[in-house]
Amino acid sequence: MIPICLYFQVHQPYRLRRYNYFDVGREHRYFDDARNREVLLEVAERCYLPSTAMLERLLERHPRFAASLSLSGTVLEQLGAWAPEALAAFRRLHASGRVEFLAETSHHSLAWLASREEFMAQVALHRARLSDAIGAEARVFRNTELIYSDALAACAEELGFAGVLADGVEPLLGDRSPAGLYRAATPKGLPLLLRHYRLSDDVAFRFSDRSWAEWPLTPARYDRWISDVKGDVVSLFMDFETFGEHQRRETGIFEFFEGWVDFRLGRRGARFLTPSAAIESLPRRDTLSSPRLLSWADEARDVSAWQGNDLQRDALGKLFALERRVRASGSDALAEDFRRLSASDHFYYMATKPEKDDRVHAYFSPFDSPYDAYITYMHVVSDLERRLPRPARARSLHPDSTRPAPRA
């Protein structure tokens, strides 16, 4: 039977407060602490607590059950401050020895698109936060929103990771199946695990959609689809918030998922693998290359969800134009604000996408429109700039930068 590799992403950003032109130079608190706490508590109640409890039950019932999680540095910090009982639940999952924790950037950021130096710094910072909060050492890397390219894989290899995750999309796979362990186009051929996006999105996006021909999805039917896949592994990667938040409890998502794991592990030879176990045990297939940036977001599965329009590119450019000066300031407070502003979420809210994608963006956005998201962000960055010591010279950019090259 084909093994299953589960990975769930856990993330909450620091959303910006209402901040306008007249706040610049006067108000240096940028984040809506009350709202962020409220959202975290809501999501902990609806998702983190019941979902970790579900995983604990499955681990207890099934010795062959395993999964992986990736928690952004910002959600680790928020859980520690506002929902310590949920953080404790994640620690218990780690203690089970059968839940792997993955590496990412500390601030769920777009740093890879703007600065290799900042990217490396945030990966190191995440390593420290994960170790402090959970006690885990990550071996496998996943970049923000599965943003991926050959250069990203090479960087992960240099940083000593045992493997990397990406979405199983055609630009990377050609006509190959996502159901296998591949090699990245890096000097040492870093192991590459690919999301089976159709089967992942059946749960993450379509599960409660009553206009979907397959609604209501049952564990047995879903398991049949999985069993039909030819290959070495089916990788189901999705937001952890799928359980109880994006798909509310009333949709039956918990019963469905737990029922499916029970169903599958009730059959002989069924296995769940952590990413590390998959990398160690599965045969390695072809080398896959994508010089172009890919991700798991939107229909386009590229970086257009965060860098698809002029507003988004302008905003990221304005922020990273301050990078050197933030670092030179030596101020932890400035660095933390800068990094919170590098989170992909802020740029996601500024997207101006066609209807279908736009509904998903709007679902996540605390703003009335992408324009409000941009305006708020730009005024905050203006204020951050005013707090910085004198300017420094522009630096060179690395190959995946989506920023316009600095003028000579």
Partner: protein, 414 residues
């Protein structure tokens, strides 16, 4: 089957003082494209229409208009000798009457001594027209024609559609004009269908006038594609922030001036233009002067559409800070010229367009910040302009008219 519509309207281009005339023309054009016959009844005051395929039919003097039977024409216009017009108030009516009498015009005899009586007299004339016309459905726009619509229905027993472009609640905030509100209540209670120009207005009509959902429909206003003013015809100069439309309480002119004061304090180069007039114009001028903004404001008075288009194209941002805006056609006109738009959240137009900035009415701080943001961030200005223009291109009066036609067909089928 070709449907015949007896329509009671108020203004018709090119001489319009508000969105009602524009909307009325758009719907009539759209209906004609859809093979519908329209007999349009207008007050005599409105000047001759200038549509290419519109024929103005003469109306007899003495408030006894004759509407000849259709002969190959799908649109005919009849006129009732009446000084009524859509934005008139009791006071204005009395003033104009006195003025006309001084000038020796035949503003006597058949004209009512006050607005109330005039509205009733108009309705009586409508009944005589309806008695000799052939039509399948009656369609009347806003309170001044509601009674005419009811009278036409009484004598013809044809179904009545009342189209709500604005209510007394929008105009005054409370629906406090007893006479107007009473006519609105009567009409809306009696109509076979009520068409609102937005969901915003439909909700207001349901809430304040108790119109049940079964009779209530939403048909959003629209705009038809037209030549936009080329940037080469637009002179360069200081950044320009524009307010256009009737200067009345409903349009929030005071918020515009307050926001302008904050913008002016940050940007010494910015100018503010007010295109339009109304009963709050003098107060608006005084307010601007009182805030030391005399040199920064330009009041143009009422502008014809082509000049207004040039002004939209020249402006850096168009602001519509309305307290209550059933629709807000000027937002579409500005977007059509590629001008970024800031509108109040209390505006129906935001149900059909997304590429605008929105503020809570009265939130002057947010309004000023957004004006300054549009002026400060070029990518924002360019994105709002390009996407806004593309978005209004998708709208058409033909689509709005086809939704009205669907409402007529529902009624005729009953």
């Amino acid at each position: 089957m070709t449907l015949r519509v007896l329509m009671f309207g108020w203004e018709f281009p090119p001489y319009v003082s508000g969105g009602l005339g524009v909307a009325c023309e758009g719907l009539v054009r759209g209906l004609l494209e859809l093979e519908t016959e329209v007999a349009l009844v207008l007050p005599r005051r409105s000047p001759p229409a200038s549509l290419p395929n519109l024929t103005l039919l003469s109306s007899a003097d003495g408030g006894d208009p004759a509407l000849p039977r259709p002969r190959g024409r799908r649109l005919r216009v009849g006129r009732i000798a009446s000084p009524l017009r859509p934005y008139i108030t009791e006071l204005l009516y009395a003033q104009e009457r006195r003025q006309a009498e001084r000038l020796g015009a035949n503003f006597t005899g058949n004209y009512g001594p006050n607005l109330h009586r005039e509205v009733l007299r108009y309705a009586g004339t409508a009944a005589r027209i309806a008695a000799r016309e052939r039509f399948d459905v009656i369609h009347a726009h806003d309170w001044l024609t509601f009674l005419a619509g009811l009278e036409a229905r009484r004598v013809s027993r044809k179904p009545l559609v009342l189209h709500v472009h604005a209510t007394e609640f929008d105009r005054t905030g409370k629906g406090e004009n007893g006479f107007v509100t009473a006519i609105e209540r009567l009409g809306l209670a009696e109509a076979d269908r009520v068409v609102a120009v937005s969901t915003y207005t439909a909700e207001l009509v349901a809430r304040e006038y108790g119109v049940d959902a079964g009779r209530l429909r939403v048909v959003h206003n629209a705009i038809d594609a037209k030549e936009t003013v080329g940037p080469w015809t637009v002179e360069e100069g200081d950044p320009l922030v524009l307010f256009a439309g009737r200067v009345t309480w409903q349009k929030g002119p005071a918020y515009f001036v307050e926001a302008a004061a904050r913008v002016a304090a940050e940007r010494p180069d910015v100018k503010f233009v007010v295109a339009g007039s109304g009963d709050r114009l003098a107060a608006m001028m005084e307010q601007a002067a009182g805030l030391g903004l005399k040199e920064r404001f330009l009041f143009t008075g009422f502008l014809p559409p082509t000049e207004l288009d040039r002004l939209y194209a020249r402006a850096d941002v168009y602001v519509m800070p309305s307290v209550s805006e059933p629709f807000g056609l000027t937002a579409l006109e500005a977007l059509q010229q590629g001008t970024p738009v800031i509108i109040s959240k209390s505006a129906g137009v935001s149900e059909v367009i997304r590429n605008v900035l929105r503020v809570e009415f009265g939130d002057v701080d947010d309004l000023a910040s957004k004006i300054l943001s549009v002026l400060a961030f070029a990518p924002l200005r360019e994105t709002l302009s390009a996407r806004g223009r593309a978005e209004v291109r998708r709208l058409s009066w033909r689509e709005a008219a086809s939704q009205c036609l669907a409402v007529y067909r529902e009624l005729v089928a009953e």
